[in-house]
Amino acid sequence: MIPLVSVSERERISHVLRRLSLGAHPTVVAGLPDVDAALARALDLSPPPATVPLGTPPTAVDAQRPIEIVGTIGWWLDQMRTPDRMVEERLVWFWHDHFATSIAKVRVPYLMAQQHATIRAHATGSFSDLLHAIAKDPAMLLYLDGVTNAVGSINENFGRECLELFTLGIGGGYTQQDVVEASRAFSGWAIHIPGRPSARLGDLGVAPWQSTMIRRRHDQGTKQLLGSAGAFDLDGAIDVILSRPATARFIAGKLHRELVGLDADDATAQRLGRAFRRDWSIMGLVEAIVDDPAFTSDAAVRARVRTPVEKLVGILQAAGNPPLDLTSVTRPGVGGDPARRSAAGVASALRSIGFIPFVPPNVGGFAGGAGLLGPHQLVHTIDLLQALSTPPPVPDDPADLLARFGLFDVSRATRDVVGRERDPGRRFALVALSPEFAVT
């Protein structure tokens, strides 16, 4: 694909930030001299990491309503639009999508926030540590039925998805028997849930909402997993899975697609996978991907469909980052309260297009590509403008307005339509709707 006009340096700088974080950060782009500076800025992990506000552990399953997850969603959206540790935000999103877990089944917001903290702790660290931690994560144990997987009644849900989606990938060389053997190794895990029989785990020193393996529920027999034999437990089985080259290749290929927007060719996938397996350093993999000229090539620019969450971040940044109080939707209705109305509008728009953080449609993760280009999804971009409860400040010069959205190379049609509109609010909306803003 050869673009009609070559990509400008400004657009390429914006591309680097859009891909390595979740927005264009217009105020940052304005101060960056070139692509190398943009890369250095996006990859800078020297600012201190954010701490997920977990709140007090609930005293029972129904002490919290699922809707209360909006507090964590709002906090997360604030991190996404903050220009610190940019690449961490991209990776946190990537791992949430990869290890997709939904509040719709887990039900307890505290558990989702706790999983989010686990993902955040490892997002830029070691994939091996992340995988070992996620496999025992209480929200994951509930989401993929790990808590009902016990010796004598093996539940294959986590075992299959772990091989197919989290590690080896479809076609990664495992059989139905490997699914069964992995599931046996994963058996026996339980969560201390206050107010439930499992609260007895407290007597064993397991804190509320933490997980542990119970030996008598674990299948202690020998397993034949991916050609290795042993009495593997969860950690042992994961080490076997990590030892297969397909795992590193699959993760490297998927992160390449996330960052570059294009599939890695076979040689690149092999090279990235080999290096990744050496130490499982996630930042090492990121750096190997962005060092490849493909990352900043013309073909990579605007090769991805912008997700609704990225659009929301972009709209908020373009409007100068006004507050968005999503927690207001959990308060009893005040019909005329503009903050509440705008938060409800955003929440319902994200819901109707199936794209709310912590609510992936299924274990396969969120839709992407043409799965985000349904007519209703395009139209509901307008709904996301409800995030702004008052009209945003809009510069007079259309080029300045486009720059606030991180857009520098736009078609004549877009430039003309935006330039002709006199009303500032509508001018802002037309940029948010433009084909250029629909991609990234």
Binding site: N157, N362, G369, L373, L385, S389, V417, L430, P435
Partner: protein
């Protein structure tokens, strides 16, 4: 479509959403715009015009519906041995041999009225136990990823880009089953259709949408992703007005309730989506195809005793509501179920794991009621303890493509599959 002038047809023609866009579907499986030569090129009209006035409604039960507890082999001792805790003991006897789950009482009545075909043992060779692998096979009707959807191919060969409302998806994102190479289907999530909800400071959206279409401009050759988006924007704005005429507002939308109500993060129900399907079917210009997805989690590995009956109750209410809302017009509609696989006959303690062959339904006044195909034996399971299919699932597709949509199924499915004489 009536009322569309030639220039608009010419404008829309050839402006598809195929090409290089990676279509990661609801299941994350890519049905990409295929590389040239991967499947036959079709042009609008090759297969004739869609038979308007008739609607096929596909109800996708995602996750893998448990066919054994839906259409129950009541008198088979092996069934009760395999399902000591989850086995259905009080199925509604329909013919002395099989029974429908007690939550399907209205469907059972419709079966007695000769309006339900139960098609048994549907599957395909070398079954894929992955949700994503298997649903891609069901969506494409061919080998899985890298192809067009089976109904997308139907659109390619009938309306092409000329009618973005010939097929309507109801669900959170476009179904890859509707993805064609040179056609465009409209997907909506709810009764608000393609009507945006705007902040008060923005004022009216009416002219805004026309300006939006202007930013898209006339796209003739979509070689970049941005151009493909532009094409989709043009088709979206074109579809919006006609769709608004079809939606009477019977299923209006309450932002606050949707965002904060008790079901805030739950899937839409089959009942809600079938009500919307009925609204579209009884409109003056009904779509030829409605594809419903995202209506519940049928992946009952755990808690099946509570979860599965609730799901079936929703389906039962939805189907009944659909035909009640349509009244006489129900003659013009057939509902067909789809699901990536059935579930394992042996239970796992509190649920059932992924299976293979499955039971499906065709429902409507023009359906010739009864049982079709052959029930797989519970005494001759495969090595993984799963049912061995007795008929190819594409026979179900061939049945509706030829018997209801009046197109050549062999051409669309790339093979000659048995057709059930289940439609009048």
């Amino acid at each position: 479509m009536s009322g569309r002038d030639l220039s608009r047809r010419a404008f829309l023609h050839g402006l598809g959403l195929g090409g290089a866009v990676i279509a990661t579907g609801a299941y994350g499986v890519s049905i990409t715009g295929p590389p040239a030569g991967a499947s036959p090129t079709r042009h609008a009209g090759d297969l004739g015009d869609p038979r308007r006035g008739r609607t096929l409604v596909v109800l996708e039960l995602a996750g893998g519906n448990d066919g054994l507890n839906t259409v129950v082999p009541m008198n088979d001792g092996t069934y009760h041995d395999l399902r000591p805790t989850l086995g259905v003991a009080d199925a509604i006897d329909v013919d002395g041999e099989i029974g429908l789950h007690p939550e399907l009482a209205r469907l059972a009545q419709r079966y007695a009225d000769d309006q339900v075909a139960i098609v048994e043992g549907l599957g395909y060779p070398e079954p894929d136990l992955s949700h994503f692998g298997s649903i891609a096979i069901w969506w494409s009707a061919r080998g899985g990823a890298g192809r067009t959807g089976w109904l997308g191919a139907y659109l390619d060969g009938t309306v092409g880009f000329d009618d973005p409302l010939a097929a309507i998806g109801i669900g959170p994102s476009p179904s890859p089953a509707l993805t064609g190479r040179s056609s465009f289907a409209t997907t909506i999530a709810d009764g608000s259709g393609l009507e945006p909800r705007t902040p008060t400071w923005l004022g009216s959206t009416e002219t805004l949408l026309d300006q939006w279409a202007d930013t898209a401009g006339p796209v003739r050759d979509a070689s970049t992703l941005t151009e493909q988006v532009s094409r989709a924007v043009g088709l979206t704005v074109a579809a919006r007005t006609d769709l608004a005429r079809s939606l009477t507002g019977a299923s209006r939308y309450d932002d606050e309730a949707q965002a904060t109500g008790p079901r805030a993060y739950q899937d839409r129900t089959a009942t809600e989506s079938l009500a919307l399907a009925a609204e579209l079917t009884r409109s003056p210009n009904p779509p030829a195809v409605i594809y419903i997805s995202g209506v519940g989690d049928y992946d009952t590995h755990q808690g099946q005793a509570e979860r599965h009956p609730a799901l079936l109750a929703d389906v039962d209410a939805g189907i009944d509501g659909f035909f009640s809302a349509l009244g006489e017009r129900g003659r013009d509609a057939v509902i067909m179920t789809a699901s990536e696989f059935g579930r394992r006959p042996g239970e796992n303690g509190s649920g059932t794991d992924h299976g293979t062959a499955n039971e499906h339904f065709l429902i409507g006044p023009n359906v010739r009621g009864g049982r079709y195909g052959e029930r797989p034996s519970l005494s001759a399971l495969d090595r993984g303890g799963n049912l061995v299919h007795t008929a190819d699932f594409r026979s179900l597709y061939a049945t509706v493509l030829e018997g209801w949509l009046d197109v050549d199924a062999e051409d669309l499915l790339g093979g000659d599959f048995e057709r059930f004489e289940a439609l009048r």
